[in-house]
Symmetry: C2
Subunit: 324 residues, 2 copies
DNA sequence: ATAGGCATTGTAAACGTTTACGTAACGTGC
DNA sequence: GCACGTTACGTAAACGTTTACAATGCCTAT
């Protein structure tokens, strides 16, 4: 049997209360002598605390639940890394619950699982919640925060890039390079996509361009490959890709179709992961600070001060050419 | 306050035992009538079970702990996906504990955390354990299984590709294409690396080639970039890369140095993730079945029948040329 | 001497479940 | 009418901690 504080108490001739106080560092409530004695016995017995029991009596787990889509997004590791690190600094553990791939049932299940454990906060990364999930979360009175998704309202916590500004920046950048026929590829139909479309529209409108060319997708490489064909007849000279993977898909499809990038077609990618460096040419990108997004979301959900939007950086590589 | 079974019991005029029996589906121990009554009350009260309490009394959590390196390996999502799915089928939840980046302290901490929760099994993905970790795990009497790492002995559970065979296959493939000066790039100095080196050596020796060219690294893109320069003076005509990222690094460094792939240098990559399709040319790879590795490791750690080695597939793309 | 304060420890209840055991009611077969 | 089995349910202990409260001993100031 695994030793408990009871065993330690018996072995060292004190009560379990004293053992508990020493082991949970309630300094000032025990003498150095008993501390030493208890610590020695604990070590000798190979004692390991039972977190389950602690959580039961405290009615609170020092744990943040991260619910995440199973979509193999290449940035998720950076987000997780940021969350993990910051949580550790604040004395919190992290458990990750996978929500399948846009599977409403699994997503719901993941939230319930988190709720069953009395976690100190719930983080939802790259998740688009349905109404039911949202009420479930609200009624639970457990703080929750969306990560890399901004619901368009400050009423629900979120940490994300400012997608509208991001898309506007990308569009402006292309406009500044002389492009006037600019496409937007691979955006989704939810919050993130809409915000990016809005920014794209706004930037174009500011220069009196009404023509917009928007193709929806799912952020995947395949999505990018397929979408290129749809842009071809539309005479765009530049495309903003909704993710690095979409950009890579567009790029490779273009090369196969004999279209040179950036000579005949400019590409700006959104995300800025390693993928951008791997392709030929390397992809100019709006690089999101995923690590920071993750770290900040921890602060947010635990009630520490932190901003909703994390700045984005434009990184010039080799996929955009000046025209006109 | 969150409602408990006590509240349900009071509300429906039965004992908490009966409520518990209904709620935990101990079929045959209650009448349909009471079941209906209790379920109704539970729903009305918005009851949610307290997993912590359940785990405390059962002394067992229906949870598998996955300890994983924070190294942004692009295959980890596939492994996690496999684990998650299979665990779900077996009624187990998954919590992921990040172990930092080859940080012995954090790694140790992660194991302790898992042990504190009485999990049903511990999975260690891409982790090279030190002696201390190993004894800690062994003494805990919690089943554990290494994922994508084979310690070279069947005494400790593992699910992995057969690295020796994998490397031999890659080498043979290159030999069959006429290459005789073959390099091996980016392998580590631990189990995985040694096994691959052994396979590489064995395949070469089988054709009476004694010359080996091995460069160590850390599986990263940067690692690949740097390593190319070291191979240049050695006149190899083909290189086996220890990961897709290393291959991408080699490829791009080669292109920058004016060396055409595959015309002047052939490349075989190990892993076979999406990265292989993104580069130009696409990378011929020994593709590991990470999803299966993950899924099978769950079976393994829970005591179900499953093999240690998961087959690897050679996928021909465009980075190898026949010579001689 | 006495009261008060402080340091240290012990007692016992509480957290929300599960489950072994006991019991009552109700047939059923004889 | 009796023994017995079955069904349905209740009682109470247990899981391993934390912590409010009480108790003890000792020191100090009066």
């Amino acid at each position: 049997m695994k030793p408990t504080i009871k065993d330690i108490a018996a072995e060292s001739g004190v009560s379990i209360a004293t053992v508990s106080r020493v082991l949970s560092h309630k300094t000032g409530t025990y003498s150095e002598k008993t501390q030493a004695k208890i610590l020695a016995v604990a070590k000798r017995l190979g004692y390991r605390k039972n977190s389950t029991a602690v959580e039961l009596v405290k009615k609170k787990a020092a744990i943040i639940a991260l619910i995440i889509n199973a979509t193999p997004t290449n940035f998720s590791t950076q987000i997780i890394d940021g969350i993990q690190r910051r949580a550790g600094e604040l004395g919190q553990g992290v458990i990750i619950l996978y929500a399948g791939n846009r599977n409403a049932e699994l997503q719901h299940q993941a939230i319930v699982t988190a709720l069953e454990r009395a976690v100190s906060g719930i983080l939802l990364a790259a998740i688009e919640p349905d109404a039911e999930d949202l009420t479930l979360l609200k009624e639970s009175h457990v703080p929750f925060c969306f990560v890399s998704v901004y619901l368009g309202t400050d009423k629900v916590l979120a940490v994300s890039s400012d997608n509208e500004k991001l898309a506007a920046t990308a569009t402006d950048y292309l406009l500044d390079h002389g492009h006037t026929h600019i496409g937007l590829a691979g955006v989704d139909t939810y919050h993130t996509g809409s915000q990016r479309i809005a920014g794209y529209r706004r930037a174009l409108a500011a220069r009196d361009i009404q023509e917009t060319t928007i193709k929806y997708g799912d952020y995947s490489y395949e999505s990018g490959r397929q979408l290129l064909a749809e842009f071809l007849p539309l005479k765009v000279t530049a495309i903003i890709a909704a993710s690095d993977m979409v950009a890579a898909g567009l790029l490779n499809a273009a090369q196969e179709a004999g279209i040179a990038v950036p000579e005949q077609l400019s590409l700006v990618s959104i995300d800025g992961t390693d993928i951008c460096r791997i392709t030929t040419p390397a992809l100019t990108s709006l690089t999101q600070d995923f690590y920071q997004i993750g770290a900040q979301s921890v602060d947010r959900v635990l009630g520490e001060a932190a901003a909703t939007f994390v700045p984005v950086k434009l990184v010039e590589r080799g996929s955009v050419k000046r025209v006109g």
